[in-house]
Symmetry: C2
Subunit: 171 residues, 2 copies
């Protein structure tokens, strides 16, 4: 089949998106690196843990929510553990498993970094959008995200490497 190239509108949208998304992530990383000494993803790890019951989550669940690989998470948690912001514990129900737990210190650091982070997100993104656009943004990326639930694979109807299964809480 002959390639369906992008239409001019699609090209403009794609370029605007790719460029701005990169700038936003960079700015976010820089801001958090300055004020909290960690990149955005690490902040997200703390943040996700803080919202979980007992501030704890199994590694696989955490990876799944953050949409990152287990290996990447292992590395990150090891670093955060060294910094005393997260602690690991063995899962009592499944001896293979381990749980990441946000420490009090981690909670403090998170709370200290949150205002600056939110302010940045706001100034980069929401301050520039109308309320309608905020709604559109949500719809667009919800739609895009859903594409990853059912195995969209391209040309070669391959196996889907991004889908992940779930596991019991193990609180």
């Amino acid at each position: 089949m002959t390639t369906r190239w992008l239409t001019p509108e699609e090209q403009r949208a794609w370029r605007a998106y790719i460029g701005a998304a990169l700038l936003v992530e960079d700015a976010l990383d820089r801001q958090l690196q300055q004020e909290a000494g960690m990149p955005h993803m690490y902040y997200s790890i703390l943040s996700t843990l803080s919202e979980s019951p007992e501030r704890r989550l199994r590694m696989t669940d955490l990876a799944e929510r953050l949409k990152i690989t287990r290996s990447r998470l292992t590395y990150a948690v090891t670093r955060l553990e060294k910094d005393g912001l997260v602690r690991r514990e063995d899962c009592r129900w499944d001896k293979r498993g381990s749980v990441a737990i946000l420490t009090d210190e981690g909670m403090r650091v998170l709370e200290g970094a949150a205002p600056g982070h939110v302010e940045t997100v706001r100034s980069l993104l929401f301050d520039r959008l109308t309320p309608e656009q905020v709604g559109q943004l949500e719809e667009i990326f919800t739609a895009v995200g859903e594409g990853f639930q059912g195995g969209t694979a391209q040309a070669t109807g391959d196996d889907v490497p991004w889908r992940r299964r779930s596991s019991k809480s193990c609180s």
Copy 2:
């Protein structure tokens, strides 16, 4: 001043965006790594060069268009040069400068990879959006991107590290 936290709508939009953007970038990287042996950013470098007059661009201009640091670009171009896809030449007008040039081999590789890449972009993004949403996407990220033109700096009205100046073409 007390923090202006995100509203529930903003939170939903932010989460949908962060998650999906990550998945998209990952999928793009994986697809290009498979089919072209390079990450998305490297592909963008080739692509940008291919659209420039004489397929050449000064390092700084290239970095600016791609919204990446010069250092990152240097590393990438060094690798692409090793692979024979790009060639460097000294700038005749400004002896400090150097130009990156897409080689014929680079052009071939790019052309070979383009269809698969476009197909992926389409299946991940545009196939899931209505034409109106494509328009909204462009507007949203154009607005966001414009925020980086005038120095938006946050809380501490600091110096702006992302703004870059321009330089002569040096064709």
